[in-house]
């Protein structure tokens, strides 16, 4: 439960972070008008609520909405803001990191079969393979790769109320396959994804392919800007025979259902690793550095 709930919080971090950044921009104004020898630095957020409930500013006036306990600043001499909230947050993060590390399957990433070489750059990874002179590169990013849980899945989890039966978080990223033939100026690029209804594993009714091709286009070879003017074949209304040929083409180059399943395992492990690293960085940032 803790693991699942904390993930739900982590996906909301983007929103709360934005709020904090905008509040941070107001800080200089806040300090100059409200700072008193006794109260220290007052959080910008509390100021905006104080203004709602009181007229005029008085440097010794304490906001009614908040008790002094919740907002007693801690002074440690490092020059940063530390509040009781920050301490609670830091303690929460320490516990969360311990829990996440406990459930982490392995410290090393799972290997892909088929001789794929993995290159990682933060949350982005590339799997590269050469087959008879053809280079195949699969690129994916673990950001935004965990599909949201739907109500019926939450209800299923509730039906068996125990931590062991909580659905695992699975990362099923969109991925791009580039196939480059020797001495070619262009690569054939496939934009692929995992259809949503395949995310609910174990159901008899699932009838989607494990992965699907969304778009196909020719793009300049190498790390060059995406060519927007290149014709892009969308598979939504594509002849199904052509689609099957494209899938067979990928399968011959090692991008088949086995690959797709293994990619989910790899991406899930990577995403978990990045999540723990983020929590550790966050913990360091919140605590006294």
């Amino acid at each position: 439960m803790l693991k699942y709930f904390s993930r739900a919080v982590s996906t909301a971090v983007g929103i709360s972070t934005t709020t904090m950044f905008s509040a941070r921009a107001l800080q200089p104004l806040t300090r100059s008008t409200l700072c008193s020898p006794n109260s220290g630095t007052i959080r910008p957020f509390s100021r905006s609520l104080w203004m709602l409930s009181h007229n005029g500013a008085a440097s010794v006036y304490r906001p009614k909405l908040f008790s002094s306990k919740g907002f007693t600043p801690v002074s440690c001499g490092c020059g940063s803001l530390h509040t009781d909230g920050d301490k609670a947050f830091g303690d929460f993060l320490s516990d969360e990191i311990k829990e996440e590390k406990k459930i982490q399957k392995s410290n090393t990433l799972p290997k892909m079969s088929g001789g794929w070489e993995l290159q990682q750059n933060g949350t982005e990874a590339k799997l590269i393979r050469t087959i008879s002179g053809e280079k195949v590169t699969v690129t994916f990013n673990v950001n935004n790769s965990v599909p949201p849980k739907f109500e019926e899945e939450a209800e299923q989890a509730q039906g068996q109320k125990s931590a062991e039966n909580e659905p695992d978080i699975v990362s099923s990223p969109n991925f791009v396959v580039e196939v480059t033939k020797q001495a070619a100026k262009h690569s054939l690029v496939f934009d692929c994804h995992y259809p949503e209804d395949e995310a609910s594993h174990g159901e008899v009714e699932e009838e989607s392919d494990i992965f699907a091709i969304r778009e196909v286009s020719f793009q300049p070879e190498g790390d060059v800007e995406w060519k927007e003017t290149a014709y892009t074949l969308n598979t939504d209304s594509l002849d199904w025979a052509l689609y099957d040929h494209l899938m067979d083409f990928l399968a011959d180059r090692g991008v088949d259902n086995t690959f797709a399943d293994e990619l989910i395992e790899l991406s899930t492990a990577m995403e978990h690793h990045e999540y723990i690293k983020f929590l550790e960085d966050l913990s360091g940032f919140v605590k006294c550095n």
């Binding site: 008899v204 989607s208 392919d209 494990i210 199904w240 099957d244 899938m247 088949d256 259902n257 797709a260």
Partner: protein
């Protein structure tokens, strides 16, 4: 619409385009091109689960058919009033089960898949093999379909009904 082909398994490498082409040939022989058809390739785990749920048989099998029209007279094509009734149903192919059979009998997997699909389509068209009479009727139909198929393609497929009287 047409043939909805899905590959839900990673145990057996499949040539989708080849299977689709063969199924299209079967549809042409039977004159059922205007009807939608689903062909779903699954592994032993999935087909065993479906077999257990719908037939109370907790074991993998070669093919399971789910007709859209459940009371068809064998060989009589439905005459639907509405466009969304132009559907014959779904055929689940137990490709892992069939692959093992092929290995034991030194046969070509895609040939077997096509024979089994022909058997499955016969079920969607109302054919059964629960009595001897039904079995003979179905075998006759399958033989006709595959003879025509072999004539078009130069291959040598044989009916599934000959080999199995209980499953599908």
């Amino acid at each position: 619409m047409g043939v909805v082909l899905r590959n839900l398994q990673n145990v057996v490498p499949l040539r989708r385009a080849r299977l689709r082409k063969d199924v299209e040939t079967l549809r042409h022989i039977l004159g059922i091109q205007k009807f939608d058809l689903g062909v779903i390739c699954v592994d032993n785990r999935k087909i065993q689960r479906i077999n257990n749920i719908y037939r109370n048989k907790n074991m993998p099998t070669d093919v399971l058919s789910f007709p859209f029209y459940e009371e068809l007279r064998p060989g009589k094509l439905p005459c639907p009033l509405y466009r969304d009734e132009l559907n014959l149903g779904d055929i689940f192919l137990g490709v892992e089960y069939l692959m093992k059979q092929c290995q034991q009998q030194s046969q070509d997997l895609h040939g077997i898949l096509t024979s089994v699909t022909a058997h499955g389509i016969c079920h969607l068209l109302g054919y059964r093999h629960e009595t001897e009479e039904e079995w003979k009727e179905m075998l006759q139909k399958e033989s006709y379909i595959l003879n025509e198929f072999n004539r078009f393609t130069g291959r040598q497929l044989v009916p599934l009904t000959k080999k199995c009287s209980q499953d599908g």
